[in-house]
Amino acid sequence: MINSSSDNAQKLNSINRRMFITGSLKFFIMFGIVSRLFLLQVKENKKYLTLSDKNRIREWKLAPVRGEFHDYFGNIIAGNFESYQLHVIPEQVEDFRYLIYRLKDLLELSDNEFKKIIKKKKEIKPWETLIVSDNLSWTQFSKINNHLYDLNGVKPVISISRNYPFGENFTHVLGYVNQANKNDIESNESIKKNFVPGLKIGKVGLEKSFENKLIGTNDIERYEVNAFGRRISQLEFQKGKKGQTLRLTVDTKVQQLANELLKEQAGSICVMDIYTGSIIAMHSSPSFDPNLFVFGISQEDWQIIRNNPLKPLVNKTLQGNYSPGSTIKPIVALSALENGIINPNFTVKCTGKTEMYGETYHCWKKKGHGFVSLRNGIKQSCDTYFYEVARKLGVDKLSETAKKFGLGEKVFGNLFDIEKQGLIPNTQWKKNALGKGWLLGETMITGIGQGYIQTTPIQLCLMTAQIANGGYKIYPKIIVNEENNYQPSDKYIPLYKNSKNIKIIQDAMFGSTNEVMGTSYRSRIDDPKYQFAGKTGTAQVKKITERERELDLKTFEIPYENRDHALYIAFGPYKNPRYALSILVEHGGNGSTTAAPMAKKLFKLIIDRHLLRQSFNNKKYLEI
């Protein structure tokens, strides 16, 4: 009994001791759990609160509204229109098969389109929006609205899309928009930031150059979502900003005329204000309708554009490197005068050809011009005269002057990524690029704008403008908005050594257009209000063989791709000049017959609209 009770006491001792140990352990563990709770809930509360919000709040970005393009007079040349779209939320549809066949009937979808929709449906979650069509016609849209009663889960939506009201007229200035692809997103920060599926961005032209300004910012919808991503309730709607509207310096009427003049031909027309450098019109022909690209171009349309032999996709104004032909002659003459190589009375006898080291160099006029002075050399575009001037001048001095007047470098800087810089050769260039020494014969043909020398139409326009304004440097611009205009310090600096020389060239160009024997005499306007001065150019695309020279074929007798390019540069009105232009017609045959007549029509319109342009500007100030 004693034994048993002592055993009992021992057992009690043991169990109580162990209870004590357990109790202390429990205390420590409890303390651990409480500190863990404290750590999570009090110390790291912020972190987890953010995580929780991240969990539960999801943002939906909507496509931003793109900024517009206006012409100088405020007409919308690239705007937005309400497109009718059809959205379906598969989850809300009772019988998807029925619905989709019904829609197929109503919208008259082709099998191809139909398959695309089915494929899209499989890729999305049932509560996400399926875009059945993003551009319905009004008839289709109203048809859907009439049948809404048996189309459960269908949402007709009005959304905003790009629209080019003047179709193909501005394509090469504005470019076009299309769905952003992976490359676009990766290469542009603001596209990345504003990206939503189906976002349309500028692919070429100003649409691309000013993407960052045009794109605007997304509307943002914040929703509370559950763990499966289903929207529970809308918490916030943040209106995005519409992209900036850009006003261009172009005049739609002139641009339209340029389109009309070059219809069915390949070529380029640009018109520039000689003082401000404002581009009045800039067209490359043929063009294409940018509206085709907005909702993705169809394969057929794309093939038509791509396979057009006149190459509508090439912007000839900026990308086309052409031999300037005789349009370079004013610069050759100017360079010679400036460098004191010749004086205006320097005379050369033209017999129709001249020889140098056994090579024969022909003048365009077989019979020759006889004795030719500087003024007549430009007026009649005598090649022999300029062979001689160039020979005396040398290519290095010539290239120096040409570069000063804007040839051989990009006119718009980095604005258009497609712009080419042309080529103004000199001896150094040839050595570096071709590893050969410069030949004197090459100097001679450079003097008539053939050989290595290459210019773009916009460069020729700038050159003309700078001759017309009395020889002062200008920077062409296409956007009116002030903040976009970088004003370089060398704007309006004189490009000449002696302003008399510029006058001589201007006078010679006047003669070329307005005097008998001038190459563009037939295109003159006698009314001093419209009177303009110009210089024709005919650029050979291929060396003329002796046989062909003897045949003396008419333009239409030569195969298209061997015909000469027709060029024309001009400025007007002659008294008090204001505008300069350059015209290029690919394989147009002859500058004086093909290109110069276009200038006549253009000047008529441009000068007629000059007052309007001026007054529009003034009115602006009055309004303020």
């Binding site: 055993d7 009992n8 021992q10 057992k11 009690l12 043991s14 169990i15 109580n16 162990r18 209870m19 357990t22 109790g23 429990k26 563990i29 409890m30 651990g32 759990i33 409480v34 863990r36 709770l37 404290f38 999570l40 809930q41 009090v42 790291e44 509360n45 972190k47 987890y48 609160l49 995580l51 929780s52 969990n55 539960r56 509370e224 979502v225 559950n226 763990a227 499966f228 529970i232």
Partner: protein, 375 residues
């Protein structure tokens, strides 16, 4: 006369029993029941739906059952110690043979009105059985090989039956319940130390034998961000829910994590997460205090009991409850790998509540009959 006295003494006994009730424990259990109901209500987005109703009914039924249990003499509980153990073992065998398979494991038996999970009951009855086994044993016999082997068999048998279900979590909890009894019974410290050392040495081999999903859980525990949408999802979301609760919580019915269904298993194992999200650190601490009081009362009842059986049962049950709570909370707070272990009373689940309430019933009975000695 004698008859009369017996009658009165019985009557007196009845009131005496009422007086002997541990009202603090009772109030705490009822409070816990109320909190669990409110939380259950919140898991259903503020509507009285299936889980809330079912939980409410179970609470009522099992609380009444607990009260009835407390009037039954502790001697009765002592007497059915072995018997009940074998009943539950046979239920486990039954489960193994004819159980209901759900989400890949065979844990339940269909009793027509309720799906019973015998492994949960085993958590209590193993304590009852072992407490009886050690009740009369002399201290010097406790550490004999025979005793240790017998008690180990008593523990390992149900463990094995539960592991094959498969349900590692519950089998570990059963083992812990059993080991708690061994500990209080006075098994030599060195065996515990050897076991822990042996376990640590064998750990790599055990891991090699784990099923792929179990390995994944361990790996996920070590680094939840390994697979945030897969295996790590539960623990990450649970931590976010608890952490975002802050000091005072997001408010009742305002827990976004659970309301928006980011929380997994919010009715059962992760119910504390939801509670913690809505009531914050203060609420969670309060809940912990309630649990602490319950455990303290259980231990106090054990201390005041005259019989060794009641003592050992109360201490072990208190330790077991503590371990269940600790494991559940450590799991949802990211301190332990995910093992299926419910939070006593709070979690939805009939068998678990039944077992816990039975345990409370026995403890309460020990209290009511604290002066009862068992021969």
């Amino acid at each position: 006369m004698y008859q009369h006295t017996r009658l009165t003494s019985n009557q007196f006994n009845f009131f005496q029993k009422f007086r002997n009730f541990d009202y603090i424990l009772l109030v705490c259990i009822l409070l816990l029941g109320f909190i669990s109901l409110a939380t259950m209500y919140s898991t259903e987005g503020g509507k009285v739906l299936f889980h809330t109703k079912s939980h409410f009914i179970k609470l009522i039924v099992f609380t009444v059952m607990m009260l009835i249990f407390s009037f039954i003499n502790i001697k009765f509980w002592f007497s059915i110690g072995y018997f009940s153990y074998f009943v539950v073992i046979s239920l486990l065998v039954w489960t193994y043979l004819f159980g209901i398979t759900s989400s890949g494991s065979k844990r339940w038996i269909d009793l027509y009105f309720i799906n019973l999970q015998p492994s949960e009951l085993m958590k209590i009855f193993i304590i009852l059985c072992l407490a009886k086994y050690f009740h009369r044993m002399k201290l010097e016999n406790v550490n004999s090989i025979y005793t240790i082997l017998t008690s180990l068999i008593i523990i390992i048998l149900p463990m094995g039956l539960v592991i094959v279900q498969p349900d590692l979590g519950t089998s570990v909890l059963i083992a812990i319940s059993g080991i708690a009894v061994l500990w209080f019974a006075g098994i030599n410290y060195k065996y515990f130390i050897y076991t822990i050392l042996g376990f640590l040495i064998l750990l790599p081999f055990i891991i090699a034998f784990l099923k792929p999903y179990q390995k994944l859980r361990v790996l996920t525990f070590l680094n939840p961000d390994r697979d945030p949408l897969g295996a790590g999802y539960q623990i990450i979301q649970s931590k976010i829910a608890v952490g975002s609760g802050g000091l005072f919580g997001k408010g009742f019915l305002k827990g976004t994590q659970s309301y928006l269904e980011f929380l997994p298993e919010k009715h059962t194992d992760f119910i504390f997460t939801l509670f913690s999200e809505e009531f914050g650190f203060v609420g969670s601490a309060l809940l912990l205090i309630i649990y602490a009081i319950i455990i303290y009362r259980i231990v106090a009842i054990g201390a005041s009991s005259r019989s060794y059986f009641a003592k050992i049962f109360c201490y072990s049950f208190g330790a077991a409850i503590f371990v269940y709570i600790t494991i559940n909370m450590s799991m949802v707070l990211g301190l332990l790998p995910i093992v299926g272990s419910p939070l006593p009373i709070m979690s939805y689940g009939g068998s678990s509540m039944l077992a816990t309430m039975m345990g409370f019933g026995v403890v309460m009975s020990a209290r009511v009959h604290s002066q009862q000695s068992i021969a």
